[in-house]
Structures are given as C-alpha cells and as structure tokens.
C-alpha cells in the first residue's frame, strides 16, 4: 500500500470490482457497444419532468442495479463517489439524495469515472470503507443546454465536435479474493494546458493531459505498452486519439495502436452522425462498466489501463477567451485469473 514513484497509488489489498452496471440512452444503445450495456433507455426522459432529473434518475438506477447485482442494500454501502457535468453536479447530488448513502461528489469532467475509481480504491484499500460505489453520468440534453445551444436550434457542428453521451456507469469496489478484476494502481493527473481554445475540439485540449498521465504512469510503475492488453482513453474522440499517438511519438514512445482504444471513438457508428465520437462523464463510465469489463471477464486481455480525461473549462472561462486546461487520471485493472 502506498505511493510508488511520483504520483501513482499502489493498491495491494485485492481491491476488486465485485459488481458493475451501466445504463445508456437510445442512441448509444444503437451504437456498436449497445449490447454491452445492462439496460438501454426507451426515451431520453425516463418519465421525469426535466433532462437534469432524467440524468439523475438514470444515475440512481445504475447505482441501484450495481448494488443489487452485489446483493447489497443501501445500508451496506460505504460511500458513493460520483460526479457529472451539470453545474454543481446536481445529477449526482440528487441521486445521492434518493439513495441515502454516504456521498462524495467529484468533478473531473469526463475523467470523473477514473478519478472516482482511484479515490474509491484508495479508501477501500486503506480500510476506511468496506466498499465504495464509483459512478459517473452524462446526458446529451443537459450538456447541450448548459454548454452549447438549445436542442431545436438549427446549426451545424464541425467534424472535430464530440457528442455528449447519455449514459451512466457504476462499479462497486471491495476487498475480495477470487476471480474478480482488481484495481491495482491509480495515477493522479496534473492539469495541463496546451493553449487550445476551441471548445469544439476537446480531444485536442485533452490529448496532452492524457500523454502526461500515461508517461507518469509508465515511469512510476516501470510498465509500458507491452504490459497492457488495452489502454482505454475516454474520451479523446477520433482526432484526439490521433493527436495522442503523435504526441507519444514526439516523446519517443511508439503507441501500439491496436491496444489504444478510445471510449468516445468506439461509442457510435459513423452513420450515427456523432462526428469525432462520444464524450461526457458517462461515456468512459459506461464503456468501462460494459464492454471493457465484459472483455476482461472473458479473458480477452489480462490488464487494462483506463485513462479518463476531462476538459476543465466552463462556459464563462470559454467566453472570457481562456484556453482549455485538461486533466487525466489512470486506473490500472487486472484480471482475477492472472499473475497477481
């Protein structure tokens, strides 16, 4: 237990993912990863009266499903660590209100899921919590109205724009031995700013932060691309992923492109018109709780590194002409059957 290198946590006490759940919106359900979600919503509103409450309800249901799968009641939950994109993270706060569990509200924009897994794993590994539910959500309609324009406004998006995913993902972490997939390392990110100002190109703003955390993770752990079956970034989109490959090349690291999977770039088919791919806290959260852990449980690969990345801008900072600072967190996962 403790810190290795400069900013990587080592979790030695079998912090395992004992349960996981994901719920996605109708458009996401029709995408290539649709079959991997536990549930696909029929409509975007889930019987609520606003998009914000719909997102919160989606998150609540995801957390509840995650608990149910682990056969836990709300009274058994150590803490919920969750965040979203809404101002003052209301989706998470309101979901925690109905769940009535101890709650940490986190914000790391689209990196929130990786951030909550690292924090949750540390709390469980350190013995402060018996278990932790780590979750994140996003909703296309809440993000559009907060960051961009009304849904019915007739305007075009540039090819670099990403589509905020309607989805939520949750994992329950607990010390457990056996066939579980474990969280073994967590690398904390720095806020990096390469002076990108285009709010329609988040991938470009975030790729340098992902590179920074990835290199720090490699340096701290002594690992490299060969040690991982997949490196999952979330969410750089198609062009952000290309930029990351170029940035790594510039630092003398040849990225193994087959291993480099971006949750946003995988989320939609090209015909679904999501331009550079998906984004939002719920994107990497639901892809992790769905596709990635599915694959790991089927032993498709033994180790995975989840690199969540978030653009730490707001509408105000963007209107004031500031560039977009970004942060990225890395969580290393390892299969239960492997070489512990």
């Amino acid at each position: 237990m403790g810190l290795i290198g400069r900013r990587t946590f080592l979790f030695e006490n079998d912090v395992s993912i004992v349960s996981r759940a994901s719920i996605a919106g109708p458009k996401e359900g029709k995408g290539p990863l649709g079959a991997a979600f536990d549930m696909v919503m029929d409509d975007d509103l889930l019987g609520q009266k606003s998009w914000e409450m719909a997102e919160s309800e989606m998150l609540r249901r995801t957390v509840e499903l995650c608990m149910r799968k682990a056969k836990k009641q709300t009274s058994d939950i150590g803490a919920l660590l969750s965040g979203d994109l809404n101002a003052q993270i209301i989706s998470s706060g309101f979901a925690a209100r109905s769940l009535g569990v101890p709650f940490f509200g986190l914000y790391g924009a689209c990196s929130t899921m990786a951030q909550s897994m690292i924090a949750g794993a540390a709390l469980v590994d350190g013995g402060y919590l018996e278990n932790a539910v780590c979750a994140a959500s996003s909703h296309f309609c809440t993000a559009e109205r907060q960051f961009r324009s009304p849904l019915e406004l007739g305007c075009q998006r540039p090819p670099s724009a990403q589509w905020t995913v309607t989805a939520a993902g949750a994992v329950m972490l607990m010390k457990a031995e056996g066939e579980y997939i474990r969280v073994t390392h967590g690398t904390v990110g720095r806020v990096i700013d390469m002076k990108i100002k285009d709010a329609n190109h988040m991938g470009a703003a975030m790729a340098p932060a992902v590179m920074d955390t990835l290199i720090a993770h490699f340096e701290d752990t002594g690992r490299d691309f060969r040690d991982y079956g997949r490196i999952i970034t979330g969410d750089l989109g198609i062009y952000g992923r290309k930029l990351l490959i170029e940035l790594l090349k510039d630092r003398g690291i040849n990225a193994d492109e087959e291993k480099l999977m971006d949750a946003g770039a995988e989320m939609f088919y090209k015909e679904q018109d999501a331009h550079a791919g998906g984004s939002g806290c719920g994107c990497v959260a639901s892809v992790l709780a769905g596709k990635v852990l599915d694959d790991m449980e089927k032993n498709a690969y033994e180790r995975a590194l989840v690199l969540g990345s978030g653009a730490m801008l707001s509408l105000l900072s963007s209107q004031q002409g500031e560039s977009i600072p970004s942060v990225s967190y890395a969580a290393a996962l390892e299969g239960g059957s492997g070489n512990g």
Partner: protein, 149 residues
Amino acid sequence: MDAKRYSKLVKEITPGSPKLSGFFRAFWVGGFISMIGQGFNQIGALIGLSYQELPMFTSSLLVLIAAFLTGIGVYDKIGKYAGAGSIVPITGFANSVVSPAMEFRREGLVMGVGARLFFLAGPVLAYGISASVVYGIIYYVLEVAGIWG
C-alpha cells in the same frame, strides 16, 4: 512539444468542415426559402396588399412557418443540413427565438422563457438596432449639411 508546434499539429490532423458541399447546400436551401418568400410576395400582391404591407405579410408568414417547423422538431434538421442557408434568412431568426423558448420552458415562464427568449437573437437585435440608430444620425447630419439626400 510547445504550444505553437502542438497547435500546428492539431491543424494538420483535424479536418475542416466540408466547404464545397456546405456552400452548395447553403445556396440551394437559402435560395429555396427566398423563393418561397417571393411566392408569398406575389400572392400578397394578387390579393391587393400595398407596397408597404407586402414585406410585413411575407416575413410574418415565413416566421410563422419557421416557428411551427421548430416546434415540431424539423427546423434543426434543416439547419444541420443547410447551415447558413437556413440561419441567414428571417426563418433562422424565428428558429433562434423559438428554440430557447422551448428549451427553457421548464425553468418557468419568467426566469426561463422570459429571460432566455432572446439569448441568441438578443445580440442581433441589440447591434442591429444600434447600427440603424448610428446610420440614422449620420444620414441626418449629412442631410442637414446638404451633402446627401
């Protein structure tokens, strides 16, 4: 890599919006909307509206149709296809007022619809009206001085 080199790399890797097809779509849709407007103008003339009444008659009808199409969720699809072709005509202006009215209905009639109704169209109105006032003053001064008008 420094910020300058990175910005160059970003430009290299990121494709721009497709210009040729964008121009074509904007041209034909914008032209088509204008043609419909011209049609209303002719009809107005046929039913005996005066030269002063015609522009009002035509623009009211176009705004009405655009507001309706926004309401039933069609105008945003036209806008996605046509870009400036459906933003520049007066129908785009109607869309920019009706869409926030729909979007912010849940925040109430005062702080939602009322406060946000012109949040997109507001700048156009503010600077449009300001510009016409400045133009009016310049015109007046030139007229008094006997240079123009």
